[in-house]
């Protein structure tokens, strides 16, 4: 068991009190009526699965019941920081150490979501990155 810092309770609490809620900072398409099926599908179903820094949404389910964000390293499982809703993370993929970069550690860039995880989607992935 380990402790997680709740930015609202302002203290470390047992992990058992928290629930993970998946990727953070997902933006809803501004005009859902006008967006393409693909963009809507990405928004609804596809999530980043980076090796390295990941921003996640968690909820302090048994404590204050507030949602907040955690920046976590998916290789070491280290929690790098926790911050309130509406705040920007101070640690991002750009802060990854040179060693991590050489080892090929990727990180989720803000807003960009994976278009399918299958090899045949590579063209789409390239397109989305561009």
């Amino acid at each position: 068991m380990f402790h997680i810092y709740c930015p609202y309770c302002e203290e470390h609490r047992e992990e058992e009190e928290f629930h993970p809620k998946g990727q953070a900072h997902i933006q809803r398409p501004v005009d859902p009526e006008a967006c393409s099926d693909e963009a809507w599908g990405d928004y609804l179903f596809f999530r980043d699965n980076p090796r390295g820094i990941h921003h996640e949404l968690w909820v302090h389910a048994v404590g204050c019941r507030k949602f907040f964000n955690i920046t976590r390293h998916t290789v070491s499982y280290e929690i790098l920081e926790t911050y309130k809703m509406g705040e920007k993370p101070s640690i991002t993929a750009a802060d990854l150490s040179e060693k991590d970069k050489q080892a090929g550690v990727q990180a989720a860039s803000g807003g960009w979501q994976t278009v399918g995880a299958r090899p045949e989607s590579e063209a789409l992935n390239k397109e989305a990155r561009a």
Partner: protein
């Protein structure tokens, strides 16, 4: 003036009411009364519980005016009035639990609504949904240490602190209103489970249950 419809959840004519532990006590028959008990357990039933939600500033002004107490602004804190019978506890950045002697809650709710006017807030009467246990005695902390993950050492948990946390396999609001007692605010449906858990945990120290 508020345009919210209110109603008093306490029926007129004083019909008999039963606490969440009524059946538990009935089934138990004789309540435990061990000699040299390390733990004293008591249910404070039929208190008035209100949940206040809204901005801290507007709520603070209203409770100062109506209750004469400040709203605890810091996380995990608890304020009590001089008699110790009325308390306000921080639950989350926009949520507070007010506990007052039973029967006062409806009048208090009306006065708070009047003081708050058209502000954006909510008051919910949850008196029927939860009950309060008090745990006293020199082994009370030992019993809590067996039951909750939260650090209940006196340094980490001073008087005037209150947290909602995991307790046994349920959740409670755990608080320390004064030097020699702990309070557990438990859900009505978990009251029997928590009571029996506490008795089981206290068995090795000896327990007295007061009604």
């Amino acid at each position: 003036m508020s345009d919210v419809k209110e109603f008093d959840t306490r029926p007129a004519g004083n019909p008999s009411a039963e606490s969440p532990l009524a059946w538990t006590f009935h089934r138990q028959g004789v309540l435990p009364r061990d000699a040299n008990a390390g733990v004293r357990l008591r249910e404070k039933s039929f208190l008035g519980h209100l949940i206040l939600r809204g901005g801290a500033i507007i709520l603070d002004e209203a409770v100062r005016e109506v209750l004469g107490m400040a709203l605890p602004a810091r996380p995990n804190t608890l304020t009590l009035d001089e008699s110790g019978e009325r308390s306000i506890q921080w639950l989350s950045p926009d949520e507070w639990l007010v506990i007052v002697p039973g029967g006062e809650e409806f009048a208090l709710e009306s006065r708070l609504r009047k003081a708050m006017g058209q502000a954006h807030y909510s008051i919910i009467n949850v008196s029927g949904g939860q009950t309060v246990f008090t745990l006293q005695g020199e082994k009370a902390r030992e019993v809590l240490m067996k039951s909750t993950l939260y650090d209940v050492h006196t340094q980490a948990f001073p008087v005037g602190k209150g947290v909602s946390t995991v307790f046994a396999k349920s959740t409670v609001v755990l608080r320390r209103p004064n030097e020699d007692s702990w309070e557990l605010v438990v859900r009505r449906s978990f009251a029997d489970y928590c009571y029996r858990w506490l008795l089981d945990a206290a068995a090795e120290y000896g327990a007295i249950v007061e009604r």
